[in-house]
Structure formats: structure tokens, C-alpha cells
Symmetry: C3
Subunit: 208 residues, 3 copies
């Protein structure tokens, strides 16, 4: 009796875990460290969302998220030489994960009775906070702060969900149109190197 | 029907958001990254406090905190050349924010039924944890660990609140005397370069 | 009326606080910064566990954890020259703390009604997440991702607890055998430089 939301949460978990494990491998982490980074990338955003919604973190209710991350580690260990040559595949995974996590985050927040502006925020957190924790743990400045419209794609996807819901569309239409929005925005941003403007011109500030 | 606590939380949010956005700008973040850093600086300490008190994070109940951070971003984008020449103004903002957040943290913790020593800790967390998360995300060692009496000012302010309460003062007196204590301690510490002693002499330690 | 669990939580707190304060000292933090790092190292893992279990963080219910960390700071300040020459002593402390925290984490999670695989995860988080936060705050890549079987020792200890419980052993036997497992695994790993394999061979990855 899997629901659509379960399936997309699982697929997104695998994609995000792979992205974390590959970065951990590049930093010479051992298997366990890679597993932790994969797990944090995959479930970190949803865990922060669930703590803020005051519900038990989703991955503690169903062993499939831990199992999925372990499977991702196995895939990286066994197929690592192949994986190096498939950056594009992983970019695709990562983008689909982003779309799916955003939709899950929006729906779970609405389901908890919060208004839409909280749901948009939580959709964005679900999609991008895992990557932020991942980058902080591997001692890098989070890519999401400088990368092509990563979190903005979540935000726009959430907006489309909202508009679709306002227009009384069935839930499946809202879900799919939101996910497609995230994917299209992210693909176009990467293809055409679209970024938000940087906040330069104030870089001579020193702390008092 | 705004309460005094609402007003000071709002003013503190603006001051802290500006401080985060300016540091993000110095690191060449894009607008969205700067917004996130501003938001984390402004609401991070209070969010950790609320999660520990097991209540819904304050900024999820009232859109004004997100709006206030967005306004702070707009101000930095529009007036950035001017801002560079007003470090002192921002130091003032930051100090007032610190004082106000400390008072809010102490009061909310007491209101949740915890003893004073927890309230002091939560006041300090409310005032300084947002800056700690901000510095971690921009990949710097948190300033609060080396800066002139930053968190100590929160702690002393909380102590004054406690003493004032023990002396049966009206709540407004406790609030104002605590806030003034934070501001005065911080101003004196910066003016006279007062710091806590460093823990040197053990710097040849290596991890096993 | 202290329970066994209280005593081991207290001893572990002291050991972990010392480990955090020594690293903070090596980074030239001031006393307050060292206290915060000590506290985060000591109570960080248990706090994350308690937030996920949706209970009030343990250190907010009993002032002894803050008192214990303050005592650890005092010990480092007063005896720092001596401490430098006793790395082995602190390694012992750290290992005992790891064992004790793992057992506490497993038991508290089972007590909250979660299945064993969640308890194993929480035991590992209780033992190792404080050190991860510590290392992130001092701007280092967490040692746990590259160190000799640190978190794996927690995991194996939790497994032994589980097996002992399955075999209907009394609770004390499960506790002690789990703790001994953590300590023995960690000692052997350090003595014989046993590590998990690294995930190399994929280090030429660049982010899209």
C-alpha cells in the first residue's frame, strides 16, 4: 500500500545519498563516513522539517531510508569507476531528488495545518538543507549559496504547487506541475548558466 | 495588540539579518544565499531554543520574521555603498539585537516552566547561536568564541534579569535592566578591548 | 537515588567535555568558547537524540551536566601543563565516554518505544554526534569520518546489546557487554591502526 509520496521520497533519498557519498569519497572518507554523509544529505532536510513540524523524523518510522542509503553506498563502492564517467546521470538524479523532496516538504507542512508560506519554506528546506549540512560537514561553503538557482528552483516549484491548488486542480496535478517546475528551472539554469546576482561591492567589511 | 516582546523580537531580527547578509555579501554569495544567511543569523538562535523547549519555532507562526529578513536584504542591495561607511551603526544594531534576543530567550524559557539556570542558557543561545550557525555556514570559526565578551554579555544580562526578578521588580524593570546590561557590557568590552583570557599553553595537542 | 544510567551519563559528560575543551584550547579560544565547545561535545549527541525522540533534552532537566562541563573547564585551566603529558589518559576517558553514551542512547530509544534499528542509530548518534558538531564548529572535517572505527565501535556495541537482550540476559549484562565491546573495538582499532577502507578512486569528481 505504498502511496505516491512514499515512492518519491524513496527515489529522492537514493539520488541524494549518491550525491553525498560521491563528495565524501572525493574527500577520502572511509565507508562509514561516506554512509553518514550520504544519510545526512538524503534525510537531513526532511529531518529539520520534521523537527520544526514537531513530528517524529520520517526516517525513524521506516527502515527503508537507511536501507536505501546503504544500497547507495554499495553501488558507489562496486561501480565507482563507472560512476566517474556518468556525472550527467547523477546531475539528473540530484535534480529529480530536489523536485521530489520539495513536493513532499510542501505537502507534509500543509498536512500539519500550516499556511502556504510556511509550506514553501519547508519545501525549500526539505530540498536544500541536506546539501547544506553535507557541505558544512565536509568543510566547504554550501554550494546552494552560489549554485545555479538550486534553492530558487524549490521555491518556484512550491509556488506552482500553491497556484495549482488555488486553481482547484487535483492533488496529482499540483504535485506533478510543481516537480516539473523544479526540474525545468534547474535544467535551464545549468544549461544557460543562469545565476542570481551576487551581492558584491560590500566586501571590504571587517568585523568590529 | 503587539506586545513589547514582539516589538523587540522584530527589531532584533532586522539587526541580526543585516549582520548575516553583510557577511554573506563579503563571501560573494548570491541574493538567495544572502537571504538564507540573514535568516539563519536572525532566527537560528530562537529556533534552537524553541526546538529544545518543544514549541513550534516562533518564525513559523508569524510571517513578519521572513518579511523582515527580506526587507533587510533589500536594504543591503539598495544601500550597500552607504552601508560600508556605517560599520558603527551596524555594531549598534547588532548589540541591541543581542540584548533584545537575550531578554526574549530568558522570558520564553521561564514561561515554559523551566528554572532560571535553563533560562540563562536559553537567553545566551537565543542571542549567540544564530551567529554561530552563520559563521559555520560561511566556513569560519564562530567569532563568538574569540570576540569581546559577546556571549558573556548575554549571560550577565540574564543574571541581572534573575536578580531583578528575585528583588520582586516589575517585569518591565527586569527586561530593561537586563537589556541595558547586555548593551553596556558589550560596548565597554569593545571600547576597552576586554576579552576573556585565552586557553593557551595546551596547543601542542595532537589527536590520537 | 541515582540510577546506573545517571552515573554513566555523568562520567561520559566529563570525559567528552575535556576532549572538547582541549581542542578549543589548541585553537586559542577564550574560556567561554572553550566552555561552549566542551558543552557541545558532551551534550550535543544526546541533545540531537532527544530532539528526535521528541523529549526535552536531558541536560535541561538536571544542572549536573552544565556543572560537570564547568568543572572540566576548571580542571583544564588549572592543570593544563600536566594534561599535555597525559594524552593516553584522555584517550581512555574519551573511549569510556563513547561506550557509556552508546549504552544510554540505545536504552533511552528503546524506552521511547522505537525498534532496535532506531536504537542502534541513536546509540551511534549519542556517542559520535557531539564530536561531529565540535569539529564543525572549530572548522575541521569531523575526525569520526576518518578515525579508527570510532562510530563503528558504537554500532558494534549497540549490536551486542541487542543480541544480549535477544538472549534474555539481565539488563546489566547487556549494558556491560555493550560498553566493553565499544571499548575493546576502539582500543584494538587504535593499537593496530585498523580503519575502514577509504572510498578512493572517485576523487576526480567535480560538481556540475
Amino acid at each position: 500500500m505504498w502511496q505516491f509520496v512514499d515512492i518519491i521520497e524513496f527515489a529522492g533519498t537514493f539520488a541524494f545519498a549518491i550525491s553525498g557519498i560521491r563528495l565524501a569519497a572525493a574527500k577520502q572518507f572511509d565507508w562509514f563516513g561516506a554512509l553518514v554523509i550520504g544519510l545526512v544529505t538524503a534525510v537531513g532536510g526532511g529531518t529539520i522539517r520534521d523537527l520544526m513540524l514537531n513530528v517524529t523524523p520520517f526516517w525513524m518510522m521506516n527502515i527503508s531510508y537507511l536501507a536505501c542509503t546503504s544500497l547507495a553506498l554499495l553501488v558507489v563502492v562496486v561501480y565507482r569507476q563507472i560512476l566517474v564517467r556518468h556525472n550527467y546521470t547523477f546531475f539528473t538524479f540530484d535534480t529529480i531528488g530536489l523536485a521530489l523532496f520539495t513536493v513532499v516538504g510542501v505537502e507534509k507542512t500543509l498536512g500539519a495545518g500550516f499556511p502556504y508560506w510556511v509550506a514553501l519554506t519547508m519545501g525549500t528546506i526539505t530540498g536544500s538543507a541536506g546539501g547544506m549540512i553535507r557541505d558544512t560537514l565536509i568543510n566547504e561553503i554550501p554550494l546552494v549559496f552560489r549554485k545555479e538557482l538550486y534553492a530558487i528552483a524549490c521555491l518556484l516549484g512550491g509556488l506552482v504547487y500553491w497556484l495549482s491548488d488555488l486553481a482547484k486542480m487535483p492533488q496529482e496535478v499540483s504535485q506533478i506541475s510543481a516537480a516539473v517546475t523544479v526540474i525545468v528551472v534547474r535544467l535551464l539554469a545549468v544549461k544557460y548558466h543562469i545565476s542570481l546576482p551576487k551581492l558584491n561591492g560590500v566586501d571590504k567589511i571587517e568585523e568590529e
